[in-house]
Amino acid sequence: MSLAKAELRRLFKRRVTRVFLALVLLGLALIPLVFTLTSQKTGPEQLRAAEVKAQADFEMAVREHQRVVAECEALKAGGATDLDMRYGPNCGKDYAPTREMFSAENYLPFEFTFRDEFGPSVMVFSAAVALVAFVIGASFVGAEWHSGGMMNLLLWRPRRIPVLLTKLGVVLATMFGVTVVLGALWTVAFWLIGRYDGVLGKLTAGVWQSFALTGARGATLVLLAAAIGFGLASLGRHTAMALGVGIGGIVVSEIGLRIALQIVEVPFADRYVVSTYVTAWLNKEFTLYDYRSCAFSMGQCNPAELTVTWQHSAIVFGVALALVLGGAIWSMRRRDIA
């Protein structure tokens, strides 16, 4: 227990931890702030203003239409031909704007709807915290290896695997705590925006359950990122190893692989891309379309679909986690500490 307490102290004494937690806090705080500033509750006053604006735009469109028709007819009277290409048949008289085209609804200011928009916001939240968790997890063990701190610690606690797993446990517990606290603040912030600057919508138990499940998957993603960052840095005994693999993985997977697979016309190429599985995990599922399967000359086409589910993502993430952490533990057990 004393080791876990010491490691917790060490984690929060580290500048990387403090800086990245501060950055994620600031970054996440900006999003609700932007929503607060842009969202406006719709009342009779907003409806009236929207109606006035819609009417004004409608009238302006009618005037413009009449001007264009008059211009066309003047040209036709002067003997001009081929005006259909420019003005449409019958000088575009049949395409006069109607009032229905200028619905007041389209002129209302943005109004945040908690029920509809909180779910997607949880995905943004999870992705941001997962990124920070990856860096903190990698740095916590990578810097220890690089600076010799791990060796010093092992002189005090010569049990390699328990030391490594205690460090991992501390990172995971910390990131879980951070996610829960930030997640609660995130929820409260958006609920307040919905309550005072927008609408909450019909919040049934099912809606809250759906939010909770999205949040749980988001928290799992955060822990996964922290564990993989930690494992990679431990394998390479340097933070740069994890960051290099992370950045390299993104470049190779999201750009290189995607382009290469499209060139060789692999169907559903995006199923080999990491972000597909992250999206499917957070969104419950992600549908890929293969437009190459369409023969548009035969008329309308419904492209072939492939649905990647969160269960598929769980398998991919589980295998990656087992490989990285298994490798880190094996390396810790077998390799000399120089």
Partner: protein
């Protein structure tokens, strides 16, 4: 006196596809008795740090037996780690932590009281600088911090790898006093160092390692005495005769190292034999004195690492232990 540290036949082989096989430790033996300050000497790359790391469980040996404080390691390390304080090679600490933070985190991990942190900082002279980040420290200050971290546990056995490295002369003297004081309080100290003058002053006994094998061990005084008896310096009335005189002595069975104004002669029973042998060939000795040895010259001789003019010695060019070698 009971042995606090015993190593028998320790072996460590590094295998690399690029660099092939290298035997870092080749049946190394070492014994350190309780309450001693024991010097652990060897040229660069001889296996000192590998030995210490292996002893402390950081490196897995390929063979041999190690006993620390009466218990076989590495199996017993988790049990006895609290009784062994160590610094291995250059001091390495997280640069953005203060000395105080560094030690208090180790104290937390090892269940040592916070009060001890202040005590060891005082002991190594870092009290006033304890709140400064380690990255602002000089090498000597980092070395002091490393010693403080090793002393934090108040160990029975203290293993220090190059503790005087980077210290100023005052610091070296303080370190010497500290080592002696610790030994007097009953702590056993194993000291790896290249400052042989210091080792000679501080240590009760030494082990010399070369190319992974022990080439000498025993009390410092005994080792010096044994080496002192083996050689004399010879000056002649006419320095131009040094070269033919050297040939006479070599042909008579002595080992001779020529110098511009004298000869160093070893492998002789009695100094009088030198005088007589040279006189018989018409060379007259103007000065004959026993070779004054210090630990440095003994070390250079034992490890065959004395610099040779015009030659750049490579780190692996050192002596291997002779069969039934000197001091064994």
């Amino acid at each position: 006196m009971a042995a606090v540290l015993e190593i028998t036949g320790l072996e460590k082989t590094y295998r690399s596809r690029r660099r092939g096989v290298r035997r870092a430790l080749d049946g190394f033996d070492m014994v350190v008795e309780q309450g001693q300050v024991h010097g652990f000497l060897g040229p660069n790359g001889s296996g000192k740090t590998t030995t210490l790391r292996t002893l402390l469980g950081l490196i897995r040996p390929n063979g041999g037996r190690m006993v620390l404080l009466g218990e076989e390691v590495p199996a017993a390390l988790p049990r006895i780690a609290k009784r062994v304080g160590a610094i291995v090679e250059s001091p390495q600490f997280f640069p953005n932590f203060t000395a105080s933070d560094t030690l208090s985190l180790l104290a937390d991990a090892g269940g040592v009281s916070k009060q001890r942190v202040a005590e060891v900082l005082e002991l190594v002279g870092l009290r006033e600088r304890a709140k400064e980040r380690v990255k602002t420290y000089s090498l000597g200050m980092k070395q002091r911090l490393a010693v403080a971290s090793a002393l934090l546990k108040n160990p029975d056995l203290l293993i220090l790898d190059e503790p005087a490295n980077g210290l100023d002369p005052g610091g070296i003297r303080e370190m010497r006093t500290l080592m002696r004081g610790l030994a007097e309080s009953g702590m056993t100290v194993v000291l790896s160092s290249h400052i042989l003058g210091e080792v000679q002053l501080i240590c009760d006994s030494v082990t010399v390692i070369s190319r992974g094998r022990r080439v000498a061990h025993g009390p410092v005084a005994d080792i010096l005495a044994q080496h002192a008896g083996t050689g004399v310096t010879v000056k002649l009335e006419d320095p131009a005769e040094l070269s033919p005189a050297a040939e006479v002595l070599i042909s008579a069975g002595a080992r001779v190292t020529p110098h511009p104004d004298h000869l160093s002669v070893t492998n002789v029973d009695r100094p009088a034999w030198v005088t007589r042998t040279l006189a018989e060939k018409g060379f007259f000795v103007s000065e004959l004195a026993p070779v004054r040895v210090d630990l440095e010259s003994v070390f250079l001789d034992l490890t065959a690492t004395a610099p040779v003019p015009g030659q750049a010695r490579q780190v692996d060019d050192s002596a291997t232990a002779p069969a039934g070698g000197w001091g064994v």
